[in-house]
Every structure is written in C-alpha cells, then in structure tokens.
C-alpha cells in the first residue's frame, strides 16, 4: 500500500506501530516532541522518516496515529489541527482520560476538523511480535471505512484487526483496564492468589461496562475483545507500570514515591479519580474504582480495602451490565 502514515509520538507504542507497518510498503513519518528524541529515532529507525514538525509528518498523510498519553493528547491534537483534513483517518490507542472524564476521541474531535476517528483496543500484546505470534486488536470507529482501510493496510502483517463501531466502549474498556491493573498489582503484592485476581479483573470489567453503558457504550463491547479479550494484563510497559504502582502501594509506599519508582505515565491514577467523579454525578456504583482511588490517595489501606471489594457480591446474572 503506497499511503503515507503519520505517527505522532516517539515512545514504545509509536516504535511498535512503525515496526508493524514496515512490511506494508506504506511511507511512515514519525514525529516526537523532543528534538533529542527525534535524533535518536532517526538513528534507530531505518524504514521510518522522522519529521521535524507535526505538519511535516501529518499534512499529506492518509492516516494519522496518535501514540501519546492522554496528558499530551490535546496539545498534539491542537498542533495537528492546523493541517488536519476531513478525509484523513485518525487512530489512537490512548488509555487515559482528561479531567471531566473527557475521552480521547472527544479531545481529538475538539481540536481538529476530522470526523473519522478510531480507537485501537484489546490485548495488543506487542511482545508477542518478537515471537512471531499474531496480534489481535479491536478498531472502533463510527466510520466503517476506517477499519476497512486499516485491514487492507495490515493484511501482510501479524495484526488482526476486528472492527467495531463502539468508540466509547472500547475507550472505556481500555481506560478502566488500567485501574484494574493497579488493583491486580495490589492483589499480587498481598499474595491473595489467582482467584482474587480473577474476581478483581471481572469486577473491573463489570464496572467498565456499567460506566460505559451510562456514557453511551454498547454493553456487548465489554464481552468482546476490548473487554473480556483484554482481561489478562497486557505485557506492555504501560500496564506493567500500573501493576508495579499497585504493588508498591500495597507494600505501603506513597503514591508519589510509587510513581517516581516507575517513571512514565500511569494514566489509571487520573482515570480512577475522574471515574469516581462521573459515577457520583450519574449515580453509578463503582466499588472497585472507588476503592482504588481511595488507596491511591491514602484514604484507605490496600489490604483491607481489597478484601472489602472481594467480599462484595459479583452478580453477573443478566449479562455483564447487571445492576448489583
């Protein structure tokens, strides 16, 4: 495929996407904010052009991929907005929110003229790439042509893209999975075992579904690849960071120290706080998210709080969205 693809961001996700796209024949242009990072990428990536500006990377691109965390998404999107065009497809894999529980697709929409925004969700175990195993992902977009185009693009790659139209659901599944990763880190540090792990992950999914449904998501999304399919914590740096922070907090570390120890974005921290806020506004019951938020901010002790959550009735009757 002779298309030009822009990757905005220069971190691990950006590099993994560039590596996936190598056999497609697409021209890949990557942009990173820091000049030093661009120089390093220039040396490291042989099949990718490193652009000096968002404009140089994205102006002629058929598809623009945002590989930045939620905290930097608006700034990069605003910069991209100067050269964005209505025919461009935009993808992101951001698993965080802005304050006010503003979802990533809404941030991109608020800063640009683009309509065809899609989110990549699901397991995305990038480390499987090295062993030659296929990668599976959900691509949610209100516009069917987005998934069709990406499927054509990736047909010679190990990526299997499953289409969905539920952008909100896939985003929320990813966002709350980070909160679950924090919880699982605590469970593991407390030595509560695999059963507790399973219960916590299931509860995380149940709460993601509950929140998603209230915000307009399809309940079935959480029973699919973006939800159940993503239950096993991903072997990616971001998830591992969340797990580690959970472990450190359960071990008695403060949030500031735990965040310092992992270095990098831990988007689940803000996600938990914002989810609690929106749940209060909408009268939703999210006990796991609420508990994790309290532990993160030193308002509850991890061991007792997790035990309390484990004791709650996990009623899945009538589907994942069943009210408790």
């Amino acid at each position: 495929m002779s298309a030009t693809i822009a990757i905005l961001g220069g971190g691990r996700l950006a590099q993994a996407v560039a590596a996936i796209l190598e056999p497609t024949g697409a021209e890949v242009r990557m942009w990173a904010r820091r000049p030093a990072a661009r120089r390093t990428l220039q040396k490291k990536l042989t099949h990718t052009t490193v652009a000096d500006s968002v404009h140089d990377a994205a102006a002629d691109a058929a598809m623009v991929f945002f590989a930045v965390p939620a905290s930097g998404l608006r700034e990069v999107a605003a910069e991209y907005g100067d050269c964005a065009r209505g025919d461009q497809l935009v993808l992101h894999a951001t698993r965080g929110v802005e304050s006010g529980f503003r979802l990533p697709h809404a941030v991109i929409r608020a800063e640009t003229c683009v309509r065809k925004v899609g989110v990549l969700g699901g397991p995305l175990h990038f480390k499987d790439l090295t062993s030659g195993r296929p990668l599976a992902a959900v691509l949610a977009s209100r516009f069917d042509e987005t998934a069709q185009w990406v499927r054509r693009l990736t047909q010679k790659t190990p990526v299997r893209v499953h289409p969905s139209r539920d952008v909100i659901g896939v985003e929320i599944a990813g966002i709350i999975s980070n909160v679950s990763a924090l919880a699982v880190g605590m469970v593991d540090a407390l030595g509560l075992g695999d059963t507790a792990r399973g219960v916590i992950l299931t509860r995380g999914l149940l709460e993601a579904s509950r929140l998603g449904e209230a915000l307009g998501a399809e309940p079935s999304t959480f029973a699919g690849l973006a939800g159940v399919g993503d239950l096993i914590p991903r072997k990616v740096a971001a998830t591992e960071r969340h797990h580690k922070v959970g472990e450190l907090l359960a071990g008695g570390e403060t949030l500031a120290k735990a965040l310092e120890a992992v270095r990098g974005e831990v988007e689940g921290v803000l996600a938990a706080a914002e989810a609690v806020r929106i749940a209060e506004l909408r009268g939703l019951d999210l006990p796991l998210v609420h508990t994790i938020d309290m532990v993160l901010h030193g308002e509850a002790e991890a061991a007792a709080a997790i035990e309390d959550v484990l004791r709650l009735d996990l009623d899945l009757g009538g589907g994942l969205s069943a009210r408790m």
Partner: protein, 547 residues
C-alpha cells in the same frame, strides 16, 4: 420553481431512481421485478382503504395495468415499467395542485382564491379580518436572520424548524416572506393541501406533496431524490427534522435524518459537476407558541401505549377551520407572540459556518469541506459514512433547538403547577397522576408564586449563559405577572383550561395539558433543583410502558 427546472428535475428523478435500482440489483440487491412487486403490494393495500374518488380510481387502474404487464415483462420491459412508476410518483409529488383544494376554493371561498391568485400581501389579507391582530406583529422573527440571508446568497439553504403544530407551515411561510427570501421548497402532507386557508402560505413555501399513507419504499426514494435534486438546482428547502409534530410538546431530540442526508448527496453531486455554488447549509429554526392549536390531540396521542400512537393524525383541531379561526383571533387578542428563532447554520458535516459560508473547525480555522467526501481522491457518496455525517448534523440541530427555545409564560406556569402537583402527590406514579389525578389537584397560589420565582431565577441564569431564550413576560415579569399571563392564556382557548385560579388557590383542571406545556422545559435538568426526576426520559419509554 421555474417550469424548465421542474421538467429537468422530473426527468432526472426518473433516471436516477431507475439507475439506482439497477445498480442495487447488480450488486446483489432486489431484482427490478421484486421492486415493482413491492410497489404493487403497498399501493394495492393503501388503495383498499381509500374511498371511491377519481384519483383513487385512476390509481387502481394504473396498478392493475402494472401488475398485468409485470407478469410477462422481460428485463427491458421491467425497466420501462419501473420508469413509469417512478415518473408517476414524481409527477404526483411535484404537482401541488390538489383537486379537493380546487373544488373547495372555487365553490366555498372564491374571494379568498382571488386574493391568493393575485398573491397580495398577507398583511392585507389578515389586516382585513376582524378580531385578529396583524400577523406581522404577532410573529417575531429573530436571531440570525442576516446570517441566513447571507448563506442564501452563498449556496443552498435547508431550513430545519422544530415541529409543534400544523400552523408551523403558515408561520414559517410568513417568516420567510418577512425575511425577504424567496419561497422555500417544502414537502407538505396531503392534509395541508386540503386546507384552503393555508393555500397562500403553501405557495410561499413552494410546497410539493408528501403522501404519508404511501408506504412503498420506492415512493420514499423518489421523494428523497426529488428533494435532493431541488437542492442541486439551488432551491432552498425546508425540512422538519422531527418528521412529525412533537406529540409530547418537548423540544425534539430524536430526529429523523433520512431526508437531511440529501444535503450530502446534493453537495457531492454539486462537486462532481463543478457547480459554481456547491455548498449546502443547514439552518435551524425554533418555533415557540404560547398555546398550541392541537395540544389536546397531540398529548392524548403521546399518552397512548407505545405502538398505538398515530404517525398521521387527520382528524385533529387543524381539520376544523372554525377552530383555527378561534385560536388565532383569541391568541392574537391577548397580544401573544409566536417566536421564530433562526440559529446559526452549519455545513452537512455539522461544522459551523461564517456569514461568507466558510466552514470552521472547533478552533475557528477554515476547512475545505470537499475533503470529507473524497473516495480515492474524487467526491463520491458512501452511504455508511454519510449517515454518520448526518447524525452529527442531527446532534447540532438538537443543540440549537434547545438553546433557541423561547420560554413563554404558559410553559413556566404549567411547569410550576405540574412540579408542585408531583411533589404534593409523591406517592402517586406519574402516569396515574396525569390520567387519574392525585389526592389533591389544587395548590396554594402563594406556593405557585414562590416556585415560579425560583424557576424564573434558574431560567434567567440559564438564559444569561446562552442555554435558552426567554419570552418578554418570562424575561422581565414578576412571578405574579408570569403566572397570571399563563393562566389567562390557558383560559382563552382550550375546551378545559390546563389550570385555573379560584380565589387564593390554583386548580389543575387538565393535567394532560399541563404535562404537555411543561414538557417544553424538559431536557434542561431544571427538575434537579426542584428535587424531582425528569418527567420525560430520553426515549419517553417509561411513560409509554407505564401507560
């Protein structure tokens, strides 16, 4: 519409619809014989219920012939037959001459017909009627009028009004006339054509006929193609995106976007043929009445069990000329205003546009909208994509309707009384309260004033933030003035007033009507401060189920 355009549009409707059917068949869809068989089925069913009349007899003969020929038609003949059906539908749609109107007009209302044919000013027409204030004083056209005029010069406009009453059409016809714009093309239900009082305004709206009894999908496609082609030929259109009059009285939030989708097809076709002014603009218009002519019928229909409400109502207040006359003269007698608020327009993708017709992104940067419709570098239609674009337009329309809704004293008065009734009868379900009543149906006048005062504060705050508009009494009147004005309006028209004052108490005399008028303020979360839940949920489903 210019006759030469009419002719060209009719020819093009036939060729487009037939070629679309052929393309769909070639792509694995229904065969032409199946398309025709479905038309025969739907039309035969419809005609079974039609009373005997000349047009019905002609229709029956036509469909008998189609059925007979279809049985032995080869592919070429099927295509020819399809062309005939499409052409017949198209001719019926664009020919707005109605036999019933003509007979009534020539026998019962010859002077009025003379007036209409001479196309005199509606000022003269209504100025000469006893008891009625002048229409131009009663209809207030406000908001982005200059913006609408500017867009009309830059491209083709689709005016999208809220739909409350069948009187919306004449009010809009008058508003368009008053704004100095040429007639807008408009699909009007057959029942509007059968009302001679409306003829003048129908002329001003450039109306074509929509027969809602026709369920044939081919008929609907002909309708959409016709509307789309009028846009391509540069004729401004008027679409009611609510599809039908809002039964609940609330601002429409669930819109029917099918016809609105023609904005994209017209834009794409304009780009393909490199039209000089290819742009199409969608401009919302929000109508606000103190009283609604058909309020009783509409709310009664709304309260019927889901699935039993009627999409088409032909026997309501609108079908009784005397009732319309009483309504208009009494309403205008109270110096009542009908507001037509024009909002800022947007493009077929939901982006706001400047007076110069330039589309802007959320940060105010100009956009090349032709990019939205490119497929492999050329403008093209893509049904799934275009449905999504139109859904965005629907959201923008809903926001504009909500923002530019003008609150009048009847809405506030009904809201206050209905909220207090709900609180007084907290143990009674909403539907039961509306239908049967609670333990108390009367309220202390002072309590009504107090609650009105509180609600006015909230509405004025919302209005100062641009969240709603207020009519003159609601904007600056005291609680007493607003309630008195509301009750005075309720007293002048409806058979049983929504509420009445007796001494120092207010009685909820028609709870259905109270519910209807208070619904105009649903969707603004005003009930939260009153400690209540919304009376209407998003789908209005709870009421239907409970009823």
């Amino acid at each position: 519409m210019r006759p030469e355009d009419q002719e060209r549009i009719l020819t093009e409707v036939e060729s487009r619809v037939v070629s679309h059917s052929v393309t769909a068949r070639d792509a694995g869809g229904h065969g032409l014989d199946e398309v025709l068989a479905e038309s025969i089925y739907h039309e035969t069913r419809r005609l079974k219920d039609e009373s005997d009349s000349k047009p019905a007899r002609a229709d029956r003969a036509f469909w008998r012939e189609v059925r007979g020929r279809l049985n032995r038609a080869n592919e070429r003949e099927q295509r020819e037959l399809l062309g005939r059906v499409v052409s017949r539908y198209a001719a019926e749609i664009c020919g707005n001459f109605d036999d019933r109107v003509y007979r009534l007009s020539t026998t019962v209302l010859p002077p009025a017909l003379g007036v209409l044919l001479n196309a005199v000013s509606p000022r003269k027409l209504l100025g000469g009627l006893d008891g009625a204030a002048r229409l131009d004083e009663a209809v207030v056209v406000q908001g982005e009028v200059e913006h609408l005029r500017a867009l009309h010069e830059r491209g083709t406009v689709i005016l999208c009004p809220t739909h409350v009453s069948n009187l919306d059409s004449p009010v809009l016809g008058f508003a368009i006339y008053q704004m100095g714009l040429p007639p807008f093309v408009y699909g009007a239900g057959l029942n509007l054509f059968s009302n001679p009082m409306l003829s003048f305004f129908m002329h001003n709206l450039g109306a074509y006929t929509v027969d809602r009894k026709k369920k044939d999908p081919l008929y609907k496609e002909v309708l959409k193609t016709y509307a789309g082609l009028t846009l391509e030929y540069g004729y401004d259109n008027l679409f009611f995106p609510g599809g039908t009059r809002a039964r609940s009285g609330a601002i429409e939030r669930r819109l029917k976007l099918g016809l609105l989708g023609t904005s994209i097809s017209a834009y794409v076709h304009n780009l393909e043929r490199k039209a000089a002014n290819p742009n199409v603009y969608i401009v919302p218009a929000t109508l606000s009445f103190q009283l609604v002519l058909e309020a009783e019928t509409l709310i009664d229909d709304f309260m019927k069990e889901v699935g039993k409400s009627r999409y088409i109502i032909t026997d309501d207040e609108f079908s009784k000329p005397r009732r319309i006359w009483d309504f208009a003269s009494r309403l205008f007698g109270l110096d009542s205003k009908i507001f037509v608020t024009i909002s800022r327009g947007f493009d077929p993708f939901g982006n706001p546009v400047t007076d110069d017709g330039v589309s802007l992104d959320p940060r105010g940067r100009s956009i090349d909208t032709s990019r939205y419709v490119l497929v492999d570098g050329a403008p093209a239609l893509l049904p799934q994509r275009d449905v999504e674009y139109t859904a965005e337009v629907g959201r923008r329309l809903g926001e504009a309707f909500s923002r530019d809704n003008v609150v009048q004293s009847t809405h506030v008065t009904a809201r206050v009384i209905f909220s207090l009734l709900r609180k007084e009868n907290a143990d009674v379900g909403l539907v039961r309260l509306i239908r049967v009543g609670g333990s108390r149906d009367d309220l202390e006048l002072r309590a009504v004033y107090r609650e009105t005062d509180r609600l006015l504060d909230e509405l004025r705050g919302l209005s100062s933030r641009g969240g709603i508009r207020l009519g003159p009494t609601v904007s600056s009147g005291s609680a007493e003035e607003v309630v008195d004005d509301g009750l005075r309006h309720f007293a002048i028209y409806h058979d049983s007033p929504a509420a009445q004052r007796r001494g120092d108490r207010v009685f909820a005399t028609d709870r259905m009507l109270l519910f209807y008028y208070q619904n105009r303020l649903e969707g603004y979360r005003l009930e939260r401060t009153a400690g209540l839940t919304p009376a209407l949920d998003a789908q209005h489903a709870s009421l239907g189920t409970a009823a």
